[in-house]
Symmetry: C2
Subunit: 143 residues, 2 copies
DNA sequence: CTTGACCCTATAGTTGGGTGGAGGGTTTAG
DNA sequence: CTAAACCCTCCACCCAACTATAGGGTCAAG
């Protein structure tokens, strides 16, 4: 039997079998070929795609957004310029995320340098800064 | 009446009033002072904190994780080195997120340069690359 | 001194993203 | 040829994170 069964792809992407079928129902994963006995048969590409989905999820994208990212290709009714607009919007959203993450990272690093391992946390004045993180960045109007 | 009512903080943080009360119940926001008539009264710090929560959520942190981030301060029973360990773990998680986002960004930018606004999407060979994004990075074993 | 815009608690309902089981067929190692 | 380990569909259920509703009190403008 050539190709991968659903159990193999699920294991390869570190997801549950049910989750893989769920993503198929939700349109995130193309319905694969079936064997004569109705088993799903995948190529290794499917694992790639599932891992992408998994990673994008930890980055704060919803399944709907991930679906949009993935469907930037094979949309015959869209022109290249439509895609371009969408891609650029996604890039902007990602840049904003990176910038937000960097701000949090900077604050945590300051915190880390300040607290060099002795005494109770109360002593560290930088800890308070955590709550003021957003003053450091450009508060853009994202969703 | 000095201080902000819940309606003001909610508006200031672009959240619903119910969400603010929900965060209080969940321990993400300190229970504020109350007026004689039992109204919650906040300082502007509360808006700061709520905006931090909101932003962290779009970056893929769960409320539980955000609670941990916020409680890295004022935890009298923890020593500085405990906090240091936690802070460094958070920094690592954030670095991973940034790296993942940059990979996706790079792919999208390649895509964007390739498709310069004419013809159907099928013509663009780079579009296929989207599915192969994770081959570009170091596939670390994150959650 | 009322009326409309607030606020309170308590609790139920919703949405997104899965997870698990029933009931049944298939494949493969021994 | 059979038993373990898969696979299938359908459907009910779960958790996180809200969101709304009922039922009632408060406050300030006119």
């Amino acid at each position: 039997m050539a190709g991968l069964t659903i159990g193999k792809v699920a294991k390869g992407a570190e997801l549950g079998i049910e989750t893989v079928r769920f993503y198929e129902r939700e349109g995130l994963l193309e319905p694969p070929e079936r064997t004569a006995s109705n088993y799903r048969i995948y190529s290794s590409q499917a694992i790639t795609r599932l891992r992408f989905i998994k990673r994008a999820k930890t980055l704060g994208f919803t399944l709907k957004e991930i679906k949009e990212l993935l469907s930037l290709r094979h949309n015959p009714s869209a022109s290249k310029s439509d895609v371009k607009v969408q891609v650029e919007a996604k890039i902007d959203a990602i840049k904003q995320k990176i910038s937000d993450l960097k701000n949090i990272q900077n604050t945590l690093e300051t915190l880390d340098e300040c607290c060099n391992g002795k005494g109770p946390t109360d002593d560290c004045p930088i800890l308070k800064a955590l709550e003021g993180v957003e003053r450091l960045n450009g508060e853009s109007v994202s969703r």
